[in-house]
Amino acid sequence: MKPAQFEYVSPSTIDAAIAALVASNGEGKVLAGGQSLLPLLNFRMARPAVLVDLNGIEGLSYIEDRGDRIAIGALARHRELEHSPLIASKLPVMSAAMRHVAHLAIRNRGTIGGSLSHADPAAELPMLATFYEAEISVQGPSGRRTIAAGNFFVDALTNCLEPEEIVVEVEFPVLKQDGWAFEEVARRFGDFALASIAVSVRRGPASLEAARVAVMGVADTPRRLREAEDELVAMALDDTTPDRFAEIVVSLVAPNDDLHASADYRKHLLAQLARRALRTALAMKG
């Protein structure tokens, strides 16, 4: 229940952090909020030789308005996102989802860069990145590159980063929308989701002009459901739309049974949440 020995370094620039990772010969690990890594260290499920603490790097925790995009520095804490007026007005789905991320003491420490890198299939920020089609900027020994969220999450707890790459910024496009909803069920408030869905709609004269749908807790990575979006836009809107939408959503996922819930229960939850989310989104005055 205590970490094994490691060397601790606290660089003050991104370049120095990358240099420390390179020098560790693959034995190094980045430390951000520590809210997922410290449990792994305490249980000795992770035993890095070198811990590279990013918290000493200044200027990585901004939330910046770039017009049609919001840029968030990798070290921005969950609680800063939860309480940001800019995010509340420009990324309302994220704003609504953040209070579901763990508990206050964990939100005070946990960072967006850490949550995306940890890539938990039932974590809110990876799902939000998928939903918004965020662009994740990473920096490594050979410079900077940008990865679409859709390509970033490879498997449960697995991202596509090279060992010496660090997430430095995440850019979220602002959606043009008239209605939206975020719904989640967890065993206890703040626990990881058993099932969750985010929906955004833009109205046209007769049907919807555009829709965005993402789910989590029902696959090894968060998923954007483009088929459900297309079918929703093709549908005539009436009282049965939410039910039909729920059926489509559930037909597109194949969750596994696990310790926390059976596959059938997760599907049942997702159907309920899908129906509720679409009703809320459609009822919203744009």
Partner: protein, 160 residues
């Protein structure tokens, strides 16, 4: 490799050398500073017993390294009040029977302090949501919720 840690805890400055980087803040507070009010339950962030305030924010002391607290200002349960002079939240815990064995209480108090500062806590649902990361094996939570509700009401009275 060991490091030097300089922290302010409950208003007092401590300079401690020979701190291994792998030492958790919870163990540092208990074993190096002798402040055993901070309890250790699960060591993976789930039970909340080790919650302390670091630079004004509640954090899990078991999910932070002592060396990361270098230069920080920390408040532990020992810093809230004294046996003769309980602070508002502590007094409400006593008044409402918000504890039985007391193991979870330091974490409940430190979480409560941060919740009272950051959220309106207008309803019991808000309070329960805020306490969802703190486990208590004894009380059934009712009286903890009552204590925090009452502290929140006192705060509102004071502000108006």
């Amino acid at each position: 490799m060991t490091m030097h840690v300089s922290v302010t805890v409950n208003g007092e400055t401590y300079d401690v050398s020979d701190v291994e980087p792998r030492m958790l803040l919870s163990d540092f507070l208990r074993d190096r500073l002798g402040l055993t009010g901070t309890h250790v339950g699960c060591e993976h962030g789930v039970c909340g017993a080790c919650t302390v305030l670091v630079n004004g924010d509640s954090v899990r002391a078991c999910l932070m390294l002592a060396v990361q607290a270098n230069g920080a200002e920390i408040v532990t349960v020992e810093g809230l009040g004294s046996p003769d002079e309980l602070n508002v939240l502590q007094a409400e815990f006593r008044e409402h029977h918000g504890l039985q064995c007391g193991f979870c209480t330091p974490g409940m108090l430190m979480t409560g302090e941060d919740l009272l500062r950051k959220y309106p806590l207008a309803t019991d649902d808000d309070i329960r949501e805020g306490l969802s990361g703190n486990l208590c094996r004894c009380t059934g939570y009712q009286n903890i919720v009552a204590a925090i509700r009452s502290a929140a009401a006192k705060r509102t009275e004071k502000a108006s």
